[in-house]
Structure formats: structure tokens, C-alpha cells
Symmetry: D2
Subunit: 463 residues, 4 copies
Amino acid sequence: MTNFTKANNVQIAYIGGGSKGWAWGLMSDLAQDREISGTVRLYDINSESAKQNELIGNRLKEREDVIAKWDYKAVDTLSEALDGADFVIISILPGTFDQMDSDVHFPEKYGIYQSVGDTVGPGGMVRAFRTIPLFVEMAEAIKTYSPNAWVINYTNPMSLCTRTLYKVFPEIKAIGCCHEVFGTQKILAAMVEELLGVQNVKRQEIDVNVLGINHFTWIDRASYKGVDLLPLYQEFVEKYHETGFEGSEEGHWMNDHFSSAERVKFDLYKKFGLIAAAGDRHLAEFMPLNWYLANPDRVHSWKFGLTPVAWRKENAKKLVEKSKRLVSGEEQFEINPTGEEGVEMIKALIGLKTFISNVNLPNQGQMSGVPNDVIVETNAVFSHNGVQPIVSGELPPEVNKMVAAHIFTQETTLEAALEKNKEKAFRAFSQDMLVQSLNQEQAKQLFDQMLINTKDYLPGWDL
Amino acid sequence: MTNFTKANNVQIAYIGGGSKGWAWGLMSDLAQDREISGTVRLYDINSESAKQNELIGNRLKEREDVIAKWDYKAVDTLSEALDGADFVIISILPGTFDQMDSDVHFPEKYGIYQSVGDTVGPGGMVRAFRTIPLFVEMAEAIKTYSPNAWVINYTNPMSLCTRTLYKVFPEIKAIGCCHEVFGTQKILAAMVEELLGVQNVKRQEIDVNVLGINHFTWIDRASYKGVDLLPLYQEFVEKYHETGFEGSEEGHWMNDHFSSAERVKFDLYKKFGLIAAAGDRHLAEFMPLNWYLANPDRVHSWKFGLTPVAWRKENAKKLVEKSKRLVSGEEQFEINPTGEEGVEMIKALIGLKTFISNVNLPNQGQMSGVPNDVIVETNAVFSHNGVQPIVSGELPPEVNKMVAAHIFTQETTLEAALEKNKEKAFRAFSQDMLVQSLNQEQAKQLFDQMLINTKDYLPGWDL
Amino acid sequence: MTNFTKANNVQIAYIGGGSKGWAWGLMSDLAQDREISGTVRLYDINSESAKQNELIGNRLKEREDVIAKWDYKAVDTLSEALDGADFVIISILPGTFDQMDSDVHFPEKYGIYQSVGDTVGPGGMVRAFRTIPLFVEMAEAIKTYSPNAWVINYTNPMSLCTRTLYKVFPEIKAIGCCHEVFGTQKILAAMVEELLGVQNVKRQEIDVNVLGINHFTWIDRASYKGVDLLPLYQEFVEKYHETGFEGSEEGHWMNDHFSSAERVKFDLYKKFGLIAAAGDRHLAEFMPLNWYLANPDRVHSWKFGLTPVAWRKENAKKLVEKSKRLVSGEEQFEINPTGEEGVEMIKALIGLKTFISNVNLPNQGQMSGVPNDVIVETNAVFSHNGVQPIVSGELPPEVNKMVAAHIFTQETTLEAALEKNKEKAFRAFSQDMLVQSLNQEQAKQLFDQMLINTKDYLPGWDL
Amino acid sequence: MTNFTKANNVQIAYIGGGSKGWAWGLMSDLAQDREISGTVRLYDINSESAKQNELIGNRLKEREDVIAKWDYKAVDTLSEALDGADFVIISILPGTFDQMDSDVHFPEKYGIYQSVGDTVGPGGMVRAFRTIPLFVEMAEAIKTYSPNAWVINYTNPMSLCTRTLYKVFPEIKAIGCCHEVFGTQKILAAMVEELLGVQNVKRQEIDVNVLGINHFTWIDRASYKGVDLLPLYQEFVEKYHETGFEGSEEGHWMNDHFSSAERVKFDLYKKFGLIAAAGDRHLAEFMPLNWYLANPDRVHSWKFGLTPVAWRKENAKKLVEKSKRLVSGEEQFEINPTGEEGVEMIKALIGLKTFISNVNLPNQGQMSGVPNDVIVETNAVFSHNGVQPIVSGELPPEVNKMVAAHIFTQETTLEAALEKNKEKAFRAFSQDMLVQSLNQEQAKQLFDQMLINTKDYLPGWDL
């Protein structure tokens, strides 16, 4: 008799499979699962990295503490990875950290500080110009080699990467996944523990209605077992608005480039009455420069960090060393649940469970007040071969205004990247919220220089 | 510390609280629940019936096998029932069985046989004219006395009752609930057992995507633990198209006025390639007369029954006797789960769980291809103080054509009933699928006579 | 200095340029125009006919009573006709009159009488299956050879021909033009003359708001110099409902296969309160069979004619003779204004005037209550290089129901034709209003036989 | 016989009828018309002014050079003005010039210069808070006293005034009229004269497609007798971008507070590739402060004027004197065509003509990319009892972004004004494009002070 609770031959194509972050996390999550097993094909433009991950992954099969025995296989071409895949995971770095360095830090010369620089702001926009052609290529390859596969994208800028996939291949079954909302659920869980005196509240127990675009999502309804959390959050914000709140994440904002004390989030609540549902580092980049990112002191006073690309480069070097040790067996791969939901999504899509999570999808009616087809982030129901967004309502106009502004600028960005149209690219660039602090001459100079810095990744542009 | 897993003071207003069907079912379901308790206020225009149910309900508290001790209280006015209610349940009979007799059987003189006569067809339409004014009154009372209550309607015609509530009080939190899709899930569960050799498949394990209007819903995607059921259903239909299938429900269609052998459902699959998700008795009424309802022999050959109102009258008499025995204590109330989801929905809305079920709601984007605001039936997510429909796609045009036709006729029906406009009422009536078998003179005669038969319930009409 | 009031080198491609009806009409209208001149390239699968028309057309240049000297040129290929064209006129007969004979008369064996048989009904539907592939081909050729040309289609079934052009080449600038609304304006003009005692009212002076689909359009607002014509029409209908009205067109319905006494139109007003804006012969085919087309006696009593294809064949023979005479010079071409607006539209699109007329276009918001992108007929503003529909509102639900039903069936028809899918084709066929009078077995027999009769024009179908 | 080309008893209610600008203009235009006559009832909160205008207006009847003899009647109440009106004209000053002084000049303390200050910017927003309650009152009165009248609004902020009318009384037949697009047509006409060597081009001969919101409309298609004007405009912009162009209006920008040299318009074309269709003074206020309005020198270099309220006060005084002279007969009223289209619109609505012009209406599909129901400005067809917008397409995303941002902020403004909600009012205020140049503390100070300055006109607010 068929076993309806297991799936044994799942084929996953991992684009960016040489990754030492997301790929290792996936290995860890897959290793612990009791219900699915199969093969992960690792494709990376750095084929050496993919091969190392093949060795690292396959080593897990031998271990007793590993439940699921997955095969890992480095492949040389995109088509080899995709052909016959049930799932495609995309997690790539567009360009190198050198380009990212320009994205994030070059605008500092013009007084624009960016805490992440991969979504909006001058950095996010130039990253988009670089990334969209790569996603055009992937969409075409998926259309040819694995048109029925489910595609899970983790690459930023999330909205534009996912939008590109659908633009090129409208029948694609692609979703964009991001953990930023989880972080906000964790803060709310910590709040429930503190204010209601409950213990061990899990983020999954915090029900939220999610609305917006990636890294700029909002929660207009939240509850914990029937308790409405909006009034509680009001109280929480009053308490921690000034000092910040450190309880929900491991790192302290002063020591950890990825942490914050949630002051931006609290301030946005005071301004708009809704819960902004992403990390402060992301949120700040969507707002006027003079609100949070005017200068490093201002950033410091809002208690969040500017993540330097130098740190990323340094960290990458450490990971290369670690990879070597893992390959050689000098160090053992540590299996830890990541908290990501990729594996759960795969299981739901196979039909092993039904679950609800937030996800980036073309708007088909789940979010009112913004156009159809643009990528929005709301909750969706994952089930056998289906991801169906939940009708999530409309943001109040003062918040919708900000979300829509970024959406329209992303639409211009997309058009510019597809047409390799420098003039249109500048129209998008100059309308970015952070860039609008500059006068037009400065904006043009910054734009021209940033494009030159990334020109190796802009084939076909007239630079 | 607060107990987050129980709710102890739930206030339910039951409109039609003298009912001996749905009300007793609710008593049974409430009695067995471990998480909620409170008060049910019973309002009925037959106040004697409500009082009897008060006695019957309160008796349960004394019994050892009853888990939840609910208070039942008959009230004399709608406002008393509604004031302070958390939930309002509406389950009424518009008019009496005499009017229903005319609805169902009078058209037989013109060759129109109706298996139920409460949704569409000449009977459903005249019932709507009678019912809509009652729902106008209820919507106004809810707006005044319990604007924040959740309203659960079970009354037919479902779509038009729910539509009326929203038309009169757009901010109402009302849902229309119906178990017909459950029946189809049961057939699919029986099919899975038979064709896949699995045992004890529960209907809840059959995942379906639901699209359409009440009693005329369609399933375009169905799975059981990851197995796509559409190809299986094709096989099932081939096997049972001629003979019919008896396995999923208790009664045999020849002995049970509510059963069928699913031949209509199978035939619709052969015609349209989708699973029609309601009982055959309902489905047949949405199609051209000559397909299934041309005459009793045709009905017999399709193996479903015409439910006679005489039987309903007879049955009602038996229930009156039974009610007396329950009140006197001569007979003990039998506690049996009904399989309905009302109590589960209440618990979800309180915040004790999250669950997904099909429900009737104004279209806000969950169903493409039909107008906004009309009542459609799709799946929705029930959670704390929220019912959010799931974006469910669009029916193929040949099916959407039929659904849309009934929707537009319902819109005309609604306008006619609100305006008490006899001319417009006839426009709706003459466009009904069953009525269209008549020529215009016959249709007019039938219409005039049926309105006269129900004229006591059409105050303000110029008849 | 540039002359801004003339255009001297207009290039028109005429597909179906061997036509002896529309083509001669165009010659006549072009000959009389003072503002434009140029070349008409005549393409026809019957190249002999095209060559005759070349000779006939060019002869006009020599005449003194001809104002504009147009060049006519028969071409051998579609690409030759299209390359460099400013305007493309499409007016073809899909198949021959033998196929049309089957379309119109074969269903009579099953009791289905059709007055035209080229739009809906079994005949219209089979004609659509035959025509859509031809329009696929034309759309592809236009995309290749004259993507910027304005395309004016006169071929029926109008909605589906135009829909096909946009489906294949979404950027096409195509409109569907039909004179049926003009006929209704003429009736209203005659009414104004009769009831208001005004003389010489021109149809262009009758302002109307038009809503619907081709041959099934409705007028919900009409006026003559500020006088609301709806109340007047009510009076007019009362007067002529029984006897019919003969005044607006030349022919008497009993002698002229294309005339009627407007009784269907008046009856629809009594039923729905709006002015149906097409000829009775077309309108009747959109309604249930038993209303107007049940049998020839019924048709006769409604005072309109069934246009026999035998007549068309006979007439075609006469035109062939006439064509020979025109070519030989035995007979002189008669120049008469047709009353069509094609030349006026061309002038407006060139920029010589702005004017408003009804036209078939994809729904982009001009008509509420039906889906976007399907072809609807409303008024539009014609100006330099633009045809912009006017926001025209929504039909009342009882009328919209009928319009939407035909739209959805057309969508199924389109899908079936594009996919060459016989099963889907039957779904469309069996849902046609006239076909629904048959039981399913009869419908299937009729369908199968009609497809066989036209099979030479259904390449790629599995018949 | 009825005269279908004249209307003799037209009833016009003029709200703000004491006006010395628009009211005198209307008198002038009415006096010259050959087709309509009737009564104008003048209502003004300054009843003395209304009475003066009554005298001035009635005097015209005696003059020989006046064609149409209109009666003017000052009335004491809104209801008297509205009761029985066919047309309602609204042209009021909300508050006094003292409040306007604060609107326009107070923000200068914070470095925000406004050229007009009545639409957006801090001034426009505060003016909206003051004006919306007045329009709520008018909408309710119109609903009661003249629900079938056509309402023509000239008051700013145009979009919000018109939106308020529809929000309160959705069935109202209201339009918002503005002459700014005419000004742009005049520039294009001057351009055609200059570049094409044509003489006496009328603005009405310039066909344009209009898209956007009042004072921030855009032209994406323009032609003169078939000549596409976009390429010509490109040439024109190149020629005059630096120097500015003075030819189209009477006043020179340096001497005339209402004139400009179109440099802002030309700059916007260079930036966005579309023709911005309003005066530079208006356009500048919709853009970031540092583009055009950073300081008076910047304004001067862009060659447009800041219209000082002191000038308006001074001018008002002169008009009071002039009014006295007109009343006394010391001065004769000068009849001059205004170039406004109000009288033409009235004639079209009566049914005397059909014409096309730009107008502000709720979005019902005429403009894609922005929500339904908000007020947009596009072309519309005016005919007997109907104003139907023309489907006008969608702005490119980079322009739509700016338009949508202002729309959403207006929606917040509306909600705030209706709720008298100061917190929400600040959310709107702080999102204004000009205000966003301030930091949040400054913005709050400015807001608080401006509300205080206008507090006499904010009854019910918690200030």
C-alpha cells in the first residue's frame, strides 16, 4: 500500500548551491525531516563551491543523528539542475561583494546611509538592475526545463526578482519567501510573555494579518489565542519607545550588525497606528532619509546597525575556511533548525500538510489598493500543489501611499532593467525615497557613478 | 492567570430558536464541546417553540454525559436576543410549509418539477421574495443591537439572505454556512477508500478548492495527502455513471428524500470536467429543465428524489410530538455530533483555533469572473475575529456562464424584493433556468398564481 | 505650407477585396470624399474577383463626377496587401455559401430556425469555428507586416473575430464596426418625426448611450436635442407593439429578407424597459427559441424574415454578372453614399476630424458588469490615431445576465477554436440559447453533423 | 412647434454668488449666449455682495448689446438657492484671505515657499480641512433640495471638494471644472504657430489625451489636425528649456503673479517625457521642495511667480470699489468672453450640443493605475443630461507614482476632515511632498500652528 505520509524521491534544484549560508541551512533542515527525502542538485557559477557543498551534504548521510538521507549532486549547467526538478530554490548573490560595497557605501559620499542596501535605496535599485537580467535568464530556463516545478526564491530584491520570473514566464509557480515577518512575530511573542505573563509563547502562535511588500509589510490584526494584540502593542510601544526593546532576538543591536532595538518599528506605530513587520534595518530604508538614516549618529540614536559590506567580506572568508574544514572532515557539520519554513512549504506542496504563512506573490486580489500583478506579501494557504493567497484587505491610505510609491518605482525599475534604458533607470532612481533627499544634479552624479561601479554586470547598457 | 484555551461566557442569539432541527443539532454540538460555554438566547416568532427549546436545552445541564453547561433562555423580542450577543445564528423558515407547498408543488402543474425548491427555480425565487424583507429587518436590528456580533446564517436561499444582510448593513460580519460541500468531500473520501484501498478516510482529509455560489459550487482541484483526485474521479465517474454510487451517505436514494445516487454529479463531470459540489437534488435545479427535472420518470432514472413538502409537514408533526416528550422528560434528548461546523467556527472566531472551510461571503477578490460584492462560496480561513476568503481563481467560461447567469438573476430578484416591484420580479422569475422552459404566457400565469399563494408574506406589494 | 485638411497618400489594404458588396460600397464612399485619397490594395483568396474590382475601381478615376481619384491594385498575397498599409479593412466570407447553408438551414431539421445564422445560434457558432483560424492568420500577418496600421473589421461573428485579433496580437489597433445601431437610431428618428412633429430628423441627431455586444446592444439613454426619448419610446411601443412599425427602413418586412416591423424590439422593451439596438433578425437569435424563432409561423407573426441562404446564392450570381458588366463597361458603376462610417473613421484616425460612434473594442472599463478584455460595443471617440471608448455604465442585471451568458459562451468558443478541441466546442455549442431548446442527445447529433458539413474549413480538428 | 435649439427657463443656483471674479465672468458669458436664458439665484454668506451682484446682473438686461436677458436674484438661504435648480455652481472662498495668508505664507518660516497654496502643500492641506465640512453641508443640502441638478464646482482644492460631494451623496451629478489644461493647449497652439508656421491656431484645435488629478494632469497624446505634437514638443523644449517661453499668455511672468515662462513644464518633460498640463505655479507644488520651490531665488530662476496673498487682499479691495461703481452705474459692466467652458457645459447638459472637455470626476474606469472612486481629471463627453468620461489609459509608473501618492494623501486628508481627527490630519500633512522636506519635529510645529491660525473654521476639532 502507498505510504501517504512520506515522499521519497523529491528532486530539488538549488540555484546558488555553492552558498555557505542558505544552502547549509537547508541541509540542516532537510537532514532532520522525517517525511521527505530525495536529491538536491547544486548549481553555482562558482562550481568549486557547489562541489564542496556536494561533499559536505553527502557526508551527512553517514551520520547516525541524521534522519533523512539526501543525495547532493553538484551540476555544471542550469539545465542539468532544472531538468526534472520538483522544486527550484534560488538563492544567489548578484555580482560580488565588491558591487555590493558600491551599492551600500558609495552613496555615503552623498550623505545617504543604508543599513542593508539590497531592497530599495540607491543600493537596492542598482542591485535590481544587476539582478533582473539574471532572473530573466532563470525564468526562461525554468520555462524550458522544469515548467511544472515550484520555484522558491530567497534572493533580494525579493519583489523585483519574483516579479521578473512572472513577467517572463507568466505560468510559473513561483513564490518569494522571507523571514522578516517571523521576526516581528517573535517580538509579539516576547511581548505576550512579558505583558500577559505567559511562558514559552511560540511565534507560530501569534496570528497576524500581513499586508504590503517585502521588507515593508504591515500587520493590521494580530492575536494570541483570541487576545487582540493591537491594544497590547500600544502599551508595549509606550513602554519601550524611548529605550528600545532587546528581548526578542539573540544579539544586542550594538554588537550585532543584524539586530536592532525595534525603535524604528515602535516609532512607525506611533506615526501610523499599525505594526511594521520587518527588521528596523529594512524599514528605515523605505522612509524619508531624515527620519532615521540621515547620518550614523541618527542611526545610532535609533538603535539599529548599518551592516557594513566589509563585515560581509570578512565573514565570507571565514566561511570559506569553514567550508574547507567541513570538506576535509576536520570540522563536523552542525545540525540546527534554522527556523526557516522552506522545508515545511515543500512538504505542504507535496501534499503532506496544509499550512499558512506569509509569502510574496503577484497580486490577484489578496491586497486591495495596489495594482494587480505586482508582487505583494500577504498570508497564503500552502497545500498540495497550491499556494493560494488569503484576501487580506487594504492598508489605510497614509500607509498605502508609501507602499504604492515603492511599488510604482519598482515597476519603473523593472521596465528600465528589461529595456536596458538608462534614462528610465534614472527616473526610477531619482524617485527613491532616500535619493529624493538629494537635488537632481547630485542624484544624477551618484547614479552615473554607481552604474559605472557595477558596469560589468550591466551587459547591453549604453553606459 | 488567564486561561487562553477556554471561553466561558459566550453569548449566542439564535433567531429561529424554536427550531426542532438545527436548534437541537446546535444543542447537541455545544453540549459536547470542552472549550466554550455560555448562554443561548432563543428567539422565534413561535414563542411557544422557543420556550420548549429553553426547557429542553436547560435540561442538558443536569446530565452527567454533558460536558459544557450552557444556559438556554427563550426571549420575546429580537432586540432582547441580539443585545450583547457575540454570535447570532439565523435559521428560520420564511412563511409556513403551506407557502413552501406552493413553492415546490404548484409549478408541477406547468411541468416544472423541483427536488428542493428553496434556492432557485420558481420555488426558490418566490421563497426569496418572502424571505428578503425578513432579512432586511434582521440586518437593521443587528446594526442597532449587536453591530459587532458575528452572524452565521443557515437560512435558504443562502446567497440572497446573506446578500441582503450586507446590502442593508455593509459593515456586518456575516457568513453563510452550508454543508453541501461536505457531502461531496464524503463521496471523494469513499472514492479514495474504494480506489486506493485506504480505510477510514475522513472528509476533512479531502483538500478541495471550492468555487461558485451556494448549492452550485464546483471543485477544480482536489487531493488526498498529495494524490491528485481529479484523474481518480474520472475513473470513478466512468465506473458509476450508469449505475450511480450509493456508498457515501446513509440513506438509499429510493427510500430517502434527501439522498441521491450522484448520477447528476457524474453527468456534470462528463459534461464540464469539474466536480459539482452539492447534492444532486440541488444541482439539478440549476440546469435546464429537460436535463434532469423534465418529469418524475426522468428524475427517477437519474436516481434522486423530489422531496415532497407533504413529507416535511408529516415530519414536523412528529417533531412536535417529540418536542413534547423531551419537555415532559418522557424521552431523553439524544446527543450526537451533527457534522456541522458551526461550533468550530465559533471557536475559531473566539480565537481558540484556526481552520479552513467553505463559506458564503461577498466577493472581494476570492473569485474572478463574477462581480464584486455578490455572495460567492469559496474556502476561507477562520481565525480570531476574522473570516478571510482564499483567492480561489476562476471557473472555466462554460461553467462560469451558468454561475454568473444565476448570480445576475439573483441580483434582479434582490432589487425586485427590496423595491417590492412586481414587474422586475417577473423579469427575474422568467429568466430562471427552469422557468425558461415555459413560454412567456405560461410563465406569467405561474408567476401570478404563485405570488397570490404567498401574498400574506408580501406586505407592500401591489398584487 | 502643409495642407492640414487633406491626406493624399492613404494606403488601404482590403482583405476580402474581391467582395461585390462592401468593397463596392467603399469605392462609392471613397469616390465622393474631398479630403483623402490614395491607394486601395485588394486581396482576396478569389484573385479573379480582386482583379475585377481593380478594374472597376480604377475606372472611377476617369469619371468627372468622381471627386477623389483612388488607385486600386489587386495583389496576390496577404503580405503584399499589408506591407506599408495605414489601414486594413477585413470583410471576408469564411468558407462559401455552401457552408453557410449548413449553418443556417441544417438546424431546421431539429426545429431551430435562424434568421441570420452568422453571430450566435448553432450557425453562428460553427461559423466561428471556421472563422477564428483565419483571423489568427491575419493577426499574425498584421503583426509582421503592418503592426501600426488601424484594422477595421466588418466580418461576422464580429465579437469573436475582433477578440481573436487581440488575443493573437494584443498591441493591434483593431476595431469592429457594425451598422445595426444606426438602424435603431433611424427608428428613433422616425419616431421623433411622428410623435414630435419634426421633419427631416437625421439619425446622427439621435444621441444614444450604447451598451452590450455586437448584434445584442442596448440603449439605456437616448435624446434628441435635449428631449429624453425613453418616455417617447414607451408611447411608441404601446402604439406599434401589435401592428409593428414599417416607417424607418425602405423595404417591407414581407418582401425584404433584411427588414422587419420591429415587433421583437418593441417586445423586448416591454420585457426589459430598454431599447434593444439591433435588427430584429439578429435580436431574436439571442433569446430563447420559444420566444420568437420556434417555427416559421411564429417568426411570421413577429413580422420579420428568415434570410435564406438560397437567396444569398442567387444574389451572388447576379452580382457576378453585374461585375462582368462593370468590368466590360457595359454598365456604369453607380455612386451612392452607403451610410456606413468607415471613411469617416479613417478620416478621424488620420486627424481630420473628431467624432463619436459605436464600435466593438476590448473592454477596458467602458462597460461594467462584464469581464475586461472581452469585446463589447459602446460609443467611442475617434480622433488622430486613437479610438477611446466612453465609460458607458452597466446594464441592469436582468439584461446583463443575457449579455454575459453570450460573452462566456463566446469565450468557450474561442478557446475551443484555438485549441481545435471538439469536446470544448460542444460545451459552447450546447450552451447556446437556441441550442438549449434541444435535449443533449439531439444537440450532440446536430453538432456532429454540422461540423462534418464544414469540415473542409476545420483543419487540425479530430472529426 | 417646440424650439429644440433654445432653452428659456434655465434655473442656476450660484453658491458663492457674491463673487467678484467667477460670478462676473459667468454674467459676461451668459449675456452673450444666444441659446439659453433663465434665472441665476445668488447665494453668499456675504449677503451684501450677493445683493450687489443681483443689481449688477439685472442691469445687463437693459443693455442693447446684451443678447440673453437673465434674471439675477440674491437669496438668503442655501435651500432657497437650490430648490428647483437645474444647475448649481459652486465657487466659494473657504474662510477669508487671512486664513489663506496663513496657508500660503506661514510655512515660509520653515523654508516652504508656495506659489499658490490652495491645492497641495501645507497650505492646500489646511485649506482642505477648512473646506471639506462646507462641502459636506452643501452635498446634504443638494441631496435634499435639488438632487437632480447638475453641480459644477470651481472651488479648490478641486479634487477634495468634488470627492466630498460624492462621498456624502453618491448619486450626485457633480463635476469639477478647471481651466489649467486650456492653458497648456494654448502653449501647444503657440508652439504649432511658431514651429509649423500656421496662423491663428485655436486651443480647441489642439486634441489632447488628459490623465491625472487636478492641477497635476498630464498629456500623453496631443495632435493638431493629424500632426503628432509630442515630437514637436521635444523640439520646443530643447529650444526654450533654458530661456523659458513667454508667447502663450498675456502677462510676463515677472510682472504677473499668475504667469510663468513654462520652465517647470519643460523641465518635467525632460524628466518624464510627458507634457505636464497645468500652470507651473501649480505643478511646482506637487514636486519635491528642492526641485523648484526651495527658496525665492530658486523660484525666480525657474521663472514663475509666488502669488502673494497680500496682492489678493489688495485686489479684493479694488474689486469692492469696482462693485460699488457697477452698482451705482458709475462704471459700466464690461462684457468679455472668459474662455471658461461653464456655459458650454450647461448647454450640452441641456442637450443643445455635444462636446468634449477635461473634467474632474470619480474614477469609474477612465484612468487605470489608480483606485476607483477617487477624483481624476480626464476628458469626458458632455451631452444631454450626461457627462461620460473617456477611457484614457494609464500613466507610466514613474508619473503614476507621483499622482497616486497625492491621491492617497488626499484620501487621508478626507478621512481626517470627516472625522475631525487631528492625528490622522497630521499623517496626511506630514506626507505632503513639500512638508516631507522638514523633519518630523518641524513638521509637527508647523502643523499645530497652522491649525491654530485657522481654528475658527475647524468646529468640532480638538485643537
